[in-house]
């Protein structure tokens, strides 16, 4: 099962190496790992997607928490969260196919961020499943390049809010 783990870490050199090294040394698999600053310049947030059974993920969580510069660890499994992935994708788009492609982009609420004579660069964000679906629908036109951020996530405030 896929788990999204969020770790608040001290923003100092070596922390990423520490976390990455722990995953490698203990043979845990990382699906994606995203690091970014938070509102507090002293802290960064790492969002790590891990695949494994509950026992493995429990070890991952505990081993992460054990790393000295890791301040807080949360496993979002079973919790209502907003999870997002951002993708830049370049699609081969000859003029005669463009209307079709543009309507697809519309459906996925993507944005065209660069236009060339033969291709389009599109920005799409959303849950991982939506990103994967967009890649699938673009495949017939020819995908030139894909760059993805990996998942970032945050728990929802309350049950009253809408589902993503």
């Amino acid at each position: 099962m896929k788990h999204i783990i969020s770790a608040l870490v001290e923003n100092k050199p070596g922390v990423l190496a520490h976390v990455a090294g722990m995953f490698a040394a203990r043979a845990f698999n990382i699906d994606s790992l995203v690091v970014g600053r938070t509102e507090d310049p002293k802290l960064s947030r790492m969002t790590i997607v891990v695949v494994g059974d509950d026992r493995v993920v429990e070890q991952v969580r505990k081993q992460l928490a054990k790393i000295v510069p890791v301040v807080k660890v949360q496993d979002f499994a079973g919790e209502p969260v907003v999870a997002r992935d951002l993708m830049l994708i370049t699609i081969s788009a000859p003029p005669d196919k463009r209307p079709e492609i543009l309507s697809l982009i519309e459906m996925f609420r993507g944005r065209v961020v660069d236009i060339g004579t033969k291709q389009l660069m599109v920005e799409v964000s959303g849950p991982e499943s939506k990103i994967e679906a967009f890649i699938d629908v673009c495949r017939p036109y020819g995908i030139k390049n894909v760059a993805r951020t990996g998942t970032i996530a945050m728990p929802r405030q309350g049950p009253s809010e809408a589902k993503s």
């Binding site: 870490v9 001290e10 050199p13 070596g14 190496a17 520490h18 090294g21 040394a25 026992r55 429990e58 070890q59 505990k62 081993q63 928490a65 054990k66 790393i67 000295v68 510069p69 890791v70 301040v71 807080k72």
Partner: protein, 626 residues
């Protein structure tokens, strides 16, 4: 430049007698000087005295007294942390630090190799309960520490390693003796960091000692570039530590403790399985109280030896691959296993699936990652063993459990550790029994790794914590000799014996010079079978006696010892063992005894890899010799 002579009294034109210092100060005042930049020292004391009386004190204080060089901050912080002894090897980029150590009130032991220094600091910590400190230079010096750091990490030993690093502006340029020390040592330390700004220096060293010695202890490395050691910074007194991600859970959850107590009170066939955590937490007294009050048999891991008096009737001695048959049978048959400060290592559990198949498992440990890592735990309690056992003792009831103890007594009677006592050739087990007898079981024992280590664990009877010092988790051959040195430095009045194997001893025997130089009366007993004994045993049992590369030509160890300034003794007959040990124990100098033991003796019993604890080999051999 002022020499001391300058400060003698001279007779100036006026009637008033002035000291040289007064003349200097008055002349300066006369010239309108109001600020002096400088730094005090013993040869300048008369001058500074005069400057102070002229009310220039604040100027002097601000310009010199409060600023300290990085190296001075390091040494002052070490002293503040209570460091009395350290180990280490000098080199280019630690010269400023070593200059400060020249007249610092810290005992300094120089090993012959940084690995030895790290093991010494490690054993010093294990023998004393204090933090061991080791210093090394950049590049090769730091690299040589890694085996020692990994050893300390696996066995949860508080060690602080300080390493020099090339100048900050050279880092990453492949400078001479540069290595990515924090990168190399990250997986073998509890925490490490590089200090690139002198204002972080004192705080970082304080944090290093705190992290190394608290919660589950371990080695911490601080890498300090040489320019940070010479930079100057205002003394920062007691800057607070800043470790937002480091939390220690001492008190166990009260409900979990009660659940554990209830399980103990209900159990018909309980076993306490305890490890090094008891010794680290100084919880031996609490363990004894629990075992006595609730009436529980106690088995120990290799590192747990000494946590519970093996002479007590509740002791089942060591469990695991080469543990006692009675401990292994008891674990396999128990209905409740109470693990305290132990981590279900594969050498303890054998085949995990078949481990303690009928037991409910209570696990008390300060490290949450140890819980349910290898074996699923029914009642986890996270916290400090001393605290939790104290609480647990209050809640447990005394129960006789006569049938269970009767069964254990039968196993003990049927399968004691044994060997052929009638042999004329020296049996390694006999050497250890004799060492235990002549030292009344009081000696501190260090070991190499392999057969020597297992026999030491099986045949010496330990009664006190910090008495048995051995590389358990990492299994570092060569640990025994430097460990004996570190332990002897920590406990100068104790008898310290390294029970070693010939090939373990070969790895670090250069440290004998360190023992001789520092007049440390350590004893080294080499159980010399001419093989890498344990590897040979596996080749005999599992590789059809093909002794591939497990034999090396050894030197005459007695002669080596004599050449290095130690006492050397060779023993070839069983009858000579007691006399040689007596002679060894009487030595004031380091002493090496080369016991030429039975060459193909095996360690029994043995749980082969992949077998359950009750599937022991060698019981028939033991029975035939008992």
């Amino acid at each position: 430049m002022f020499s001391r002579r300058f400060f003698g009294r001279v007779r100036p034109e006026s009637i008033e007698y002035l000291t040289g210092a007064q003349i200097v100060v008055r002349t300066l005042l006369g010239l309108g000087v109001d600020t002096i930049f400088g730094y005090t020292g013993s040869a300048l004391l008369p001058l500074f005295d005069e400057i102070n009386s002229e009310n220039w004190r604040y100027i002097m204080a601000k310009k010199s007294d409060e600023k300290k060089a990085g190296a001075e901050i390091i040494v002052d912080t070490l002293i503040e942390q209570g460091v009395e002894t350290m180990f280490g090897y000098p080199g280019g980029v630690v010269l400023p630090l070593f200059d400060r150590l020249y007249d610092a009130p810290i005992e300094f032991i120089i090993p012959r190799h940084e690995q030895g220094g790290c093991h010494m600091a490690d054993a010093y910590a294990r023998a004393s309960g204090k933090v061991g400190v080791v210093v090394a230079t950049s590049g090769p010096g730091a690299c040589n520490l890694t085996t020692g750091l990994a050893t300390a990490l696996m066995d949860s030993v508080p060690v602080v390693a300080l390493t020099g690093q090339v100048r900050t502006e050279l880092i990453g340029n492949d400078a001479f003796q540069e290595a990515d020390t924090t990168g190399i040592t990250r997986p073998v330390t509890k925490y490490n960091c590089i200090v690139k700004d002198i204002k972080d220096l004192a705080r970082t060293i304080r944090e290093a000692f705190y992290i190394a010695s608290t919660s589950r202890p371990g080695p911490v490395l601080v890498d300090i570039p040489v320019d940070v050691q010479v930079a100057r910074y205002e003394s920062d007194g007691q800057v607070k530590m800043n470790l937002p991600g480091y939390r220690i859970r001492t008190k166990g959850h009260a409900r979990q403790i009660s659940a554990a107590a209830a399980a103990i009170n209900k159990s018909e066939k309980p076993v306490l399985y305890v490890g090094g955590g008891i010794i680290i937490a100084n919880a031996s007294e609490e363990l004894r109280a629990l075992a006595q009050k609730a009436h529980l048999p106690v088995t120990m891991t290799l590192l747990g030896l000494g946590s519970f008096d093996q002479n007590r009737p509740e002791s089942l001695d060591m469990l695991g691959m080469h543990g006692s048959a009675y401990a292994n049978y008891a674990v396999q048959e128990c209905d409740l296993l109470i693990a305290v400060g132990a981590r279900f290592d594969d050498r303890v559990t054998g085949k995990v699936k078949g481990f303690a198949p009928n037991a409910k498992i209570v696990h008390i440990d300060i490290d949450p990652t140890s819980i349910s890592k290898n074996v699923n735990v029914d009642i986890p309690v996270v916290g400090d063993a001393k605290y939790i056992l104290t609480e647990l003792v209050k809640e447990v009831e005394h129960r006789e459990r006569a049938p269970w103890f009767k069964k254990i007594a039968e196993w003990k009677k049927k399968f004691p550790f044994s060997y052929d006592k009638n042999a004329s050739v020296v049996k390694p087990q006999y050497v250890i029994e004799e060492l235990c007898r002549q030292t009344k079981g009081e000696a501190i024992v260090t070991t190499g790794v392999g057969q020597n280590q297992m026999w030491a664990a099986q045949f010496f009877r330990f009664s006190r914590p910090r008495q048995f010092i051995s590389s358990g988790g990492l299994g570092t051959m060569g640990y025994g000799l430097p460990a004996a040195i570190g332990a002897q430095v920590a406990r100068p009045d104790a008898t310290v014996i390294d029970i070693d194997g010939d090939h373990s001893f070969n790895m670090t025997m250069t440290e004998l010079s360190t023992a001789v130089e520092n007049k440390l009366p350590i004893k080294v007993c080499i159980l010399n079978n001419g093989y890498m004994g344990m590897v040979r045993q596996w080749q005999e049992l599992f590789y059809n006696k093909r002794y591939s590369k497990t034999y090396l030509a050894n030197p005459d160890y007695a002669k080596v010892a004599e050449a290095l300034g130690a006492v050397g003794i060779t023993v070839e007959k069983a009858a000579d063992v007691p006399g040689a040990i007596k002679k060894m124990l009487g030595q004031k100098r380091p002493c090496v005894v080369d016991f030429r033991v039975e060459r193909e003796e095996n360690v029994w019993p043995m749980v082969a890899a992949g077998k359950s604890l009750n599937e022991m080999d060698g019981l028939d051999i033991m029975e035939s010799m008992a």
